[in-house]
C-alpha cells in the first residue's frame, strides 16, 4: 500500500471540499474544546472540594469511640452461653478519651511504609467566655510541624502565623466566626472554661478560616502542650492519632488493620467523607458524558460530509479503481481523509480547550468561604488532553469507517457504464 499517495489523494479531496471539511473539523474542535474545558473545570472543582475536606481530614484517624463494651458480662457467663440475651438500657463505658500507649503506636505507625506521616492531636470541648456569655467550642491541640506537613494548616490561617503557637505558651488561634462573635483580634487575651471547670487565659496569635461556617464558629487551635495543660493532663495525653497514607485508596484496609492491631477505633477518610466521593464521581461522569455526546455529534457531521463526498467523487473512485487502486486502497483514502479532519479538528480543540481553561482560570472567584481561592479552579492534567485526542481520533475513525467501507465496495463498472 502506497501510504504517501493515499494521504496525498485524501488531502486533495479535502482541498476540493475545503468548506465542508472545515465545518466537519470545527465540529470536532468544538467537541474537544468543550470536553477539555468541562473536564478541567469539573476536576478543578472536585479537587478544590476534595481539598476542602479530604486534605484536611486524615486518611485514617485513630481514637476512642464512646460506646458500650462489646462483650457484656452476661455473654461471658457460662450459665447463659448459647442463649439469646436481651439487655436493655446499656450505657457506654467510660474509657476516657485518651489513647493509651500513644507514643508506641505513633512510633510503630511512623515505621509503616504506607504512612507518610503521623500527627497526634488533643481535642477538647470548651467554653469561650466573652462578658457573661459562654460560647461552646472546640480546642484542637496540634503538633504544629506535623499538622502543617500533613494538612497544610497554614493555608487556613488568614491572620497571624501558625508557628507562633509553638513559639509562645498559652496562645491560641481561633476561627473567624468565633473572633467576630467575641469581637477580638490578634494580641487580645480570651478566657476559656474547660468542661471540668478550669479557667485559662490564652493570647490570640491568629485567626483561621476553613470556609465552613459551622467549623469557623467553633474551632480553635493551640499547641499540644497548651491543650494538655488546659485539660490538666500530662504530656503523654493524646485523643486522636491522624495518619496520612501514600495512597488514600489504602485507607479502609489500613483502618481495619490498625483497629485490630492497636485495639482502638479507626475510621478511614472514605467512610468519614462518603458524600464527597459521590459528588466528585457524579461531576466527573457528567463532564465525560457531555464531552462524549459532543464528539458523537461531531462524528455524525463527519459521517455526513464523507458520505456526500463519496457520492460526489464516484467518478474519481471508479477511475482510481480502474487504474489500479484496490478496494482497500480506496477505503484507506477515505479513512485517512476522516482522520485528517479528526486529528486537525482535535488538535485545534485541545488548543482552544487550553485557551478556554486559561480564561476561566483567570476569572476572579472570591468567596469568603474559600479564603485560599482567588480564581475559578482548573485542573491542568495532561491526561485529559490525551483522552481528548484519543476520543477525537476514535470517533472520526468510526464515523469515517462506514462511508469508507462503502467507497471501497463501489463497483467501477457500474459507474463507468452508467455514463
Amino acid at each position: 500500500m502506497n501510504l504517501k499517495l493515499i494521504i496525498n489523494i485524501a488531502f486533495n479531496l479535502i482541498r476540493a471540499r475545503l468548506k465542508q471539511s472545515i465545518v466537519a473539523a470545527v465540529g470536532v474542535t468544538f467537541g474537544i474544546a468543550m470536553f477539555i474545558t468541562l473536564v478541567s473545570f469539573m476536576n478543578g472543582l472536585n479537587n478544590l472540594l476534595d481539598g476542602l475536606m479530604l486534605n484536611r481530614t486524615p486518611h485514617v484517624r485513630l481514637y476512642n469511640e464512646i460506646k458500650p463494651t462489646e462483650q457484656q458480662p452476661i455473654t461471658l457467663s457460662k450459665d447463659h452461653k448459647g442463649n439469646t440475651n436481651f439487655i436493655q438500657s446499656i450505657k457506654p463505658k467510660d474509657r476516657g478519651r485518651e489513647i493509651y500507649n500513644s507514643q508506641s503506636i505513633i512510633n510503630e505507625l511512623k515505621h509503616d511504609k504506607r504512612v507518610i506521616d503521623v500527627a497526634p492531636k488533643v481535642t477538647a470541648p470548651v467554653f469561650f467566655n466573652t462578658g457573661t456569655i459562654e460560647i461552646t467550642g472546640v480546642v484542637n491541640g496540634i503538633d504544629v510541624p506535623a499538622e502543617e506537613h500533613l494538612f497544610k494548616v497554614s493555608d487556613y490561617i488568614i491572620e497571624g502565623n501558625v508557628f507562633d503557637l509553638n513559639n509562645e505558651n498559652n496562645t491560641i488561634i481561633i476561627g473567624k466566626g468565633l473572633s467576630e462573635k467575641m469581637m477580638v483580634k490578634i494580641g487580645d487575651v480570651i478566657k476559656i472554661t474547660t468542661l471540668k471547670g478550669g479557667l485559662v487565659s490564652l493570647k490570640i496569635v491568629g485567626i483561621s478560616q476553613i470556609g465552613i461556617a459551622e467549623i469557623d464558629n467553633t474551632v480553635s487551635f493551640t499547641s499540644l502542650r497548651t491543650a494538655q495543660m488546659l485539660l490538666g493532663e500530662s504530656a503523654g495525653y493524646i485523643t486522636d492519632i491522624q495518619v496520612k497514607l501514600t495512597d488514600v485508596a489504602m485507607a479502609p484496609e489500613a483502618a481495619k488493620e490498625y483497629q485490630s492491631k492497636f485495639k482502638i477505633d479507626a475510621i478511614d477518610a472514605q467512610t468519614a467523607n462518603s458524600q464527597f466521593e459521590t459528588g466528585s464521581k457524579i461531576r466527573s461522569i457528567i463532564s465525560y458524558a457531555v464531552g462524549i455526546t459532543l464528539l458523537i455529534v461531531a462524528g455524525f457531521g463527519i459521517y455526513n460530509i464523507l458520505n456526500m463526498m463519496i457520492y460526489e467523487k464516484m467518478d474519481s473512485i471508479a477511475i482510481l479503481k480502474a487504474t489500479g487502486f484496490s478496494g482497500n486502497d480506496v477505503k484507506w483514502i477515505f479513512i485517512s481523509l476522516s482522520l485528517i479532519i479528526g486529528i486537525t479538528g482535535g488538535l485545534f480543540g485541545l488548543l482552544f480547550g487550553f485557551t478556554l481553561t486559561n480564561i476561566i482560570d483567570a476569572i476572579p472567584f472570591e468567596t469568603s468561604s474559600l479564603p485560599t481561592i482567588k480564581t475559578y479552579p482548573i485542573d491542568y492534567k495532561i491526561t485529559y488532553y490525551f483522552i481528548g485526542i484519543t476520543f477525537a481520533v476514535f470517533t472520526t475513525a468510526i464515523a469515517g469507517l462506514f462511508p469508507a467501507l462503502k467507497a471501497g465496495k463501489i463497483d467501477p463498472v457500474e459507474i463507468i457504464r452508467g455514463k
Binding site: N2, A322, T323, P412
Partner: protein
C-alpha cells in the same frame, strides 16, 4: 505467431435481474501484442460487458481469462487491481480525470501507484507521453481548463504511463467530433506501430473499426465474425 497478451476460454456471463439472462456465451478470443483489435456490434450485444470482464473489473463470470499468460479467474481484488495498474491501460468514453489534480499529476497517478520508478522518472515519462500527444503546454493546467479532445488525450497519456501490454477502450471516440476522433485513431495506430502494444477498442463507429487490424463482431452475446484486414 507472436506473444498472446490476452486470451479467453469459454467465457459466459449471466444477468440475473429481472430474470436469468445469458449475456455472453462461450467467448473464445485471443489478442497478440502489436495487434489493433476493435469490437463492434449492436447496442446490447454484450460488447461492453465483455470488455469489462477482460479489464478484470467485472469478476462475476464463468470461464477463464488469461492476461500475459497468467490466469486471472478467481484472483483477489487486490491482485487484480495490481494487474490493471501494471498491464492494462484504459480509455473510456468519458475522460474521468480527477478534477483535484492538474494534467501532469493525473497522468502520473497510476505510475505513482505502481511505484516502480522514482517521482522524477514518472514525471519525465508523463511529460514524454504528453509530448507525443502534443499536450506539453497544457501539462500544468487543471482538467476543467481543457477542451473535450484535449481531455481525452490526457486520458490516453494516463493509460500509457505504466507502459501497459494492452490498452482497452470503451468507445473512446464516442464523445468526440470527426477531427478529434481521427486524431485519437492516429494516436492508437502509432502506439501499435511504435511500441508494439496491443489495443482492444469497443466502438460503434464502423469507420473507426474498418481501419483496425481486426474487427470482432458480436451479436446476442456471441462472436459472429472475426474479420481481419491484415
Amino acid at each position: 505467431m507472436s506473444h498472446k497478451v490476452l486470451e479467453t476460454k469459454n467465457i459466459n456471463k449471466y444477468f440475473y435481474d429481472p430474470v436469468k439472462f445469458r449475456v455472453l456465451s462461450d467467448i473464445n478470443l485471443s489478442i497478440n501484442e502489436g495487434e489493433f483489435v476493435s469490437v463492434v456490434g449492436k447496442s446490447g450485444c454484450g460488447k461492453s460487458t465483455l470488455l469489462y470482464i477482460l479489464s478484470t473489473m467485472d469478476t462475476d463470470y464463468e470461464g477463464d481469462l488469461y492476461i500475459n499468460g497468467e490466469k486471472l479467474s478467481l484472483k483477489k481484488d487486490k491482485d487484480l487491481a495490481k494487474i490493471r495498474n501494471e498491464y492494462i491501460g484504459f480509455v473510456f468514453q468519458f475522460h474521468y480525470l480527477l478534477s483535484e489534480y492538474n494534467v501532469l499529476r493525473n497522468v502520473m497517478l497510476p505510475g505513482i501507484k505502481l511505484a516502480k520508478y522514482s517521482m522524477q522518472e514518472i514525471e519525465h515519462h508523463a511529460m514524454e507521453h504528453l509530448r507525443t500527444l502534443d499536450m506539453t503546454d497544457q501539462a500544468l493546467k487543471m482538467p476543467n481548463q481543457l477542451s473535450g479532445g484535449q481531455k481525452q488525450r490526457v486520458a490516453i497519456a494516463r493509460a500509457l504511463i505504466n507502459n501497459p501490454i494492452i490498452i482497452m477502450g470503451d468507445e473512446p471516440t464516442g464523445n468526440l467530433d470527426k477531427k478529434n476522433s481521427d486524431m485519437v485513431f492516429d494516436i492508437f495506430d502509432n502506439l501499435v506501430k511504435q511500441r508494439n502494444q496491443a489495443l482492444l477498442i469497443v466502438t460503434h463507429d464502423p469507420e473507426f473499426a474498418e481501419k483496425t487490424h481486426r474487427t470482432i463482431e458480436m451479436a446476442d452475446g456471441k462472436i459472429i465474425n472475426h474479420s481481419s484486414i491484415a
